[in-house]
């Protein structure tokens, strides 16, 4: 190996040795995920990037947002599954925290694969980094392929309607897309509903400057705190829901989507009851 290649490897190795504990190494070793000879999967997921990403997210999870997660035993330790949470908080902090709780799940760690917005791959560094930690552009082909490869896929059916909503609409579920249900039916994947409480308060948005958002080509530009506030976050993972019977029409799909929406609504109410303090 040439000298500069070794230098690069050793720098990565040094960072890993310095910041990545044996516990994290052990967790990743238990994640049921086949990788290629250089530690990558077809979407660019990379174990080394995850290892280096875990320590800062751990600090956010344990000390900043002081996350409490219930029902982690409902996430299957292996095999295909769709994790379906409500979406909020302008930035995808909820995705990050759910990903961390899945990776450190004492009942069996999983690498959560989140569906991300289509403009991310065009952003230098960020696009590749999001891919490396498990993000994939939200294309149904990607989602289907990952389920066929027995992955755990995190889908926010509200999309930007959920994350970009104003503070006055907090904890009101927005319209759900039907795509996730079609994928669950087509690939016979169970759905684990998740109720996220607290992310709404991390970045309360009073107003969305939509002309500016259109100009910048981004989904929304909120009038909100510049950084997420340290609100306490409660995650409630519900029991897996299975929808195996064939459907005859889109109305039947909608009815099933509503069942998942109701389950998530119930988990949000449970979380709100559990919450004693917002900050």
């Amino acid at each position: 190996m040439p000298a500069h290649a070794m230098q690069q490897t050793s720098l990565k190795q040094k960072l890993t040795d310095r910041f990545v504990s044996a516990e994290i190494q052990g967790l990743l070793a238990r994640v049921p995920k086949p990788l290629g000879s250089f530690g990558y999967d077809p979407w660019g997921y990379n174990e080394d990037a995850i290892k280096l990403g875990v320590p800062p997210v751990r600090w956010l999870y344990e000390h900043y947002f002081r996350v409490v997660a219930h029902g982690l035993e409902n996430i299957p330790a292996q095999g295909r599954v769709l994790i379906v949470p409500n979406h909020s908080g302008q930035l995808p902090m909820d995705g990050l925290l759910i990903g961390y709780s899945m990776l450190t799940n004492p009942h069996g760690p999983r690498a959560g694969r989140a569906m991300i917005e289509r403009f991310f791959p065009t952003v230098p560094w960020l696009g590749n980094w999001l891919n490396a930690i498990g993000g994939v552009i939200g294309d149904p082909v990607n989602c289907g392929r990952m389920l066929e490869r027995e992955e755990a896929v995190v889908v926010f059916p509200e999309g930007i309607r959920g994350s970009g909503k104003l503070y006055r609409d907090r904890y009101q579920l927005q319209r759900f897309g039907n795509g996730f249900m079609h994928l669950a039916l087509q690939h016979n994947a169970p759905i684990v509903p998740v109720g996220v409480v607290g992310c709404e308060e991390t970045m309360p948005s009073l107003f969305n400057i939509s002309p500016l958002a259109r100009l910048l080509g981004v989904p929304y530009v909120p009038i909100a705190p510049p950084l997420p506030l340290p609100a306490r976050v409660i995650l409630n993972f519900g029991e897996p829901m299975r929808f195996e019977c064939p459907v005859q029409s889109e109305d039947e799909v909608l009815a099933r989507v509503d069942m998942v929406k109701k389950a998530i609504g119930g988990l949000i109410r449970k979380g709100l009851k559990e919450r004693k303090k917002v900050f």
Binding site: P2, A5, S37, F38, Y40, G44, N142
Partner: protein, 318 residues
Amino acid sequence: MPPPKRKTVLVTGAAGALAKRVIARLHERHNVVAVDFRRRVETDEGIPSYKVATHTRGFEDIFRRHQFDAVLHIGRMFAHESDRLRRYNTNVLGAKRLLDLCCKYKVSQVVMHSTYFVYGASPYNPALLSEEAPLKASEVTQDLVDSVELESLAQIYLWKHRKLHMTILRPCNVLGPGVKNSMSLLLSRPLAPVLTGFSPMMQFVHVEDMAEAMVLAFERNRPGIYNVAPEDWVPYQEAVVQAGCRKLPVPSVPPMLPKAISGLLNWNAFFPPYLINYFKYPVIIDGHTFRDTFGWSPRHSLSDIFSYYRKQKAISPH
């Protein structure tokens, strides 16, 4: 069991590294005829060799002289070998002529070597593209129009002339000793351009494994369109480091800048302006249909492939 019938096979692009290996594999079991538009290739005894371009009139004489059972069309003019028009004439019109002659002289099997470039590099590409994915390459650049049109043409013959038993192979990046495509020329260099902030996932197949894939496609004769790629992936910038190259960062924003730099510095052979998007966005193909249908699995790992480029640099520093 009687030995399989000895067939007469035409292999185009005979001067190339892949065709040479295909010819070497076929030679023992079949009668091989080699052609190339670049030069008359030195071949083993018993292998007739011709220098002729497929789109010229003289090409038909070869069909008159030999009764071909099969044609393996590997010959292709690369972007760095000529201008766009000559490339179009050779690659598209030449292929059309070749296929017409195959019909006229009742050739019963054609294997076409295409490329994964036909899918096009786009930020919206899902990974593991199947053979049914739309071919978007010409949308991105006119310079790839010959690759896409060659494919479209081959597909028309595939459905219209069933007796040709056409198999189209779309391999990922073919690398290894003697290979002179853009990616191989790039990884042979001591300094390889990379776009800052972009390192798309890529797939590589060793030229020996690709030769084996072509021979299997010919001998098993299961017409259709197949991606050819191993079940392994690596980001471009990692591949550059593993191949022993130093990275030469090229600014990626605004998007016109890397194209302009490539054009100004005349990087047409290894980092051409029209391929910039392939160094920015991934085109990951799913090769499982080919692997399952033909029982093919590559013998050379990614490490084997990269170590060739590292050793090459150690032997002959530029």
